[in-house]
Symmetry: C2
Subunit: 354 residues, 2 copies
DNA sequence: CCCCCGCTCTGGATCGTTCCAATCGTAGAT
DNA sequence: ATCTACGATTGGAACGATCCAGAGCGGGGG
């Protein structure tokens, strides 16, 4: 009856069932293996009635193609590699959570999964090499691309498909796909918001000069201040990303009572400013306006609510998956990179009417 | 010269290099494929000098076995599946981040990677089925096992290897491996800490009665209070997990000035209590003692620092990987489940000497 | 009437690895 | 000298899918 050497019927008696294979389905439907394969991958090649017959058998047996076999033959693993770092300094890692979830969800819509790997923190390339050699993933998403990281150069040279979350900062000959969030724009709208609230002398609490992302955000504050005709001399400070540093810097700045606005490169710094306010019995929102960056959970729950610049991480993830598909299909990109705009979440730390 | 049909030498001229295969290595080293395979998987079968020769060729060519082929033949994908949910209510998702990173790192030590997948939030089983059928993962880690979730039953029935982070609450016939954190113990040490600080009438701010985890934590508070001989009537309240609910509940409780301690089922609730303190001009730590749960970032940065029960998530991840290896090796488990103890991180919200 | 084409469908070959049985050579026992 | 045992290595088969070339079958054009 069966022309294929299908597995014996013992299978159903065993506890740990062997899943049905393509050959099982073919036998059951009375067609060849290739026809079943086509039913899955090129349904329009089949006659409608054959297609339906095969599909009903697939349904009945609960068949899913074996991923290893598919990958071996076709070369595509349908896996997207992402190196998962421990809590990054500066950018709160709750960010990563929001991003990652949308990435997983979006990728799954097209049958892709996300594979997490780790590597020696000292070596930013560790882990990539092995996955490439063993052809374990189809593409990479690279997230930790602050200036000077070698991942993109390495992957480009190896001809591996990838997209970075983060623009190529100082690499003129980089020509890979990227997505980034316009930090300068975020700082600008935050500053403009405080200007609208009537603040004039608005301080910037940012990171060390070595942080390219920090410099970018700061430039948005500078631009907004310049546009408003306000001098910035003495208003911008550079700190490490922790609450106490910001608290003390805010105290120093508040010695000058004309300074009533604070735009910060992170929520951590913003919360530091709120602490200084509390210690000086100044009312956030009313006496002083404060805006943070990244809209972390801490910004939401802290008293009295910290306004913050929110990155469109969900959109970033969706775009990344879209671009990956384009790259994997060997289609030309419409654009090398795309910049997304963050939005401002206003809370009571910056509203006088609250 | 070459007895195997190895790929043509053109490979080196192409940009997107084809990685070397086992056959390439075998040719180069003048041995059979099987010998190379043994060099990787059963090195002690080879004569030392053969082993060394093969290894040096592997090194020189930069060979890694193709994962798809290996998986197809041996049946093991070396992937661990984890359904990655969006921000879970109640348990802050920053928790997940800490856990996940250690999981990825620990798993990678034995050549395993973590595969994230998603599923329809309405259907807790969605996603598992497909991965099982397509034999894409070796095992699952199940994290969202509050009471009544069907994952463990389903996986057990299917004979799939898995470990849950979370004990089987109301399933007497469950016999799968699990790891959990003793929430009752966490609440107990938090309560005892406040008792030591001189508080007597200590309130509990927890979740609805339907939350099994919440009930467990509450029981720790009750036990500590009973041991100290303090009546708990009227001191325990049930809330939804948000700041305002806790703030208002705290206000109501503080009408009774004998109530000076607050143990909370989450940091979010703990922060609500801190807000109430601020509004009443009560000094956290001095006038009132507050302890939260989960040691989130918010607990660390909030003013004046929220004491919190910290789960040993890194240890949980390590244990899970250990158990997975035992299960995958078909070795018997020493114990069905293991309970880990959380620790208390003391900050200024609960210290009078601070 | 025949040929050719396109639509369906088929069966063998193949991807790169590990499993399996068999082979070879050498040493120790008979 | 012959047999057995064993350590080291080998080559064919298999895992389950897709690629590829080709076969059967009608139908339209010459």
């Amino acid at each position: 009856m069966s022309q294929h050497t299908s597995r014996p019927d013992v299978q159903r008696s065993r506890h740990h069932q062997t899943p049905p294979t393509l050959a099982t389905v073919a036998d059951e439907a009375g067609v060849s293996r290739q026809t079943v394969s086509n039913a899955l991958n090129n349904p329009d090649l089949l006659r409608p009635e054959t297609l339906e017959r095969v599909q009903s058998v697939i349904e009945r047996l609960g068949y899913s193609p074996n991923r290893a076999a598919r990958q071996l033959r076709s070369g595509a693993s349908h896996l997207i590699g992402l190196r998962f770092e421990p809590a990054q300094e500066g950018t709160s890692n709750a960010l990563m959570d929001r991003f990652l979830h949308t990435l997983v969800e979006t990728a799954s819509r097209t049958g892709h999964h996300v594979l997490l790997f780790s590597g020696n923190p000292q070596d930013p390339l560790d882990g990539y090499e092995d996955l490439l050699r063993s052809t374990a993933v189809d593409a990479f998403v690279v997230t930790d691309t602050y200036a000077g990281t070698p991942q993109s150069g390495f992957l480009q040279e190896r001809g591996a498909p990838f997209v970075t979350f983060g623009r190529p900062w100082d690499e003129p000959d980089a020509d890979h796909a990227w997505i980034d969030v316009d930090g300068a724009h975020g700082a600008r709208i935050a500053t403009e918001h405080l200007l609208e609230q009537g603040h004039r002398r608005i301080a910037w609490l940012g990171w060390e000069k070595t942080s390219r992302i920090g410099q970018d955000r700061r430039s948005g504050w500078e631009a907004a201040m310049r546009a408003a005709g306000v001098e910035t001399a003495g208003l911008g400070v550079r700190l490490t990303d922790n609450v106490d540093a910001a608290r003390m810097a805010a105290h120093a700045l508040m010695e000058d009572p004309s300074i009533t606005g604070f735009v910060c490169a992170s929520d951590t710094l913003g919360i530091g400013v709120l602490h200084a306010c509390a210690e000086r019995r100044l009312r956030p929102g009313v006496d002083v306006g404060v805006v943070g960056f990244d809209d972390s959970l801490a910004a939401q729950v802290t008293w009295p609510g910290l306004s913050s610049v929110r990155q469109p991480l969900e959109q970033v993830a969706v775009e990344i998956v879209r671009i990956l598909h384009t790259v994997l299909a060997h289609q030309p990109l419409e654009e090398r990179g795309r910049m997304l705009r963050p939005t401002l979440v206003v809370r009571r730390s910056s509203t006088r009417t609250g």
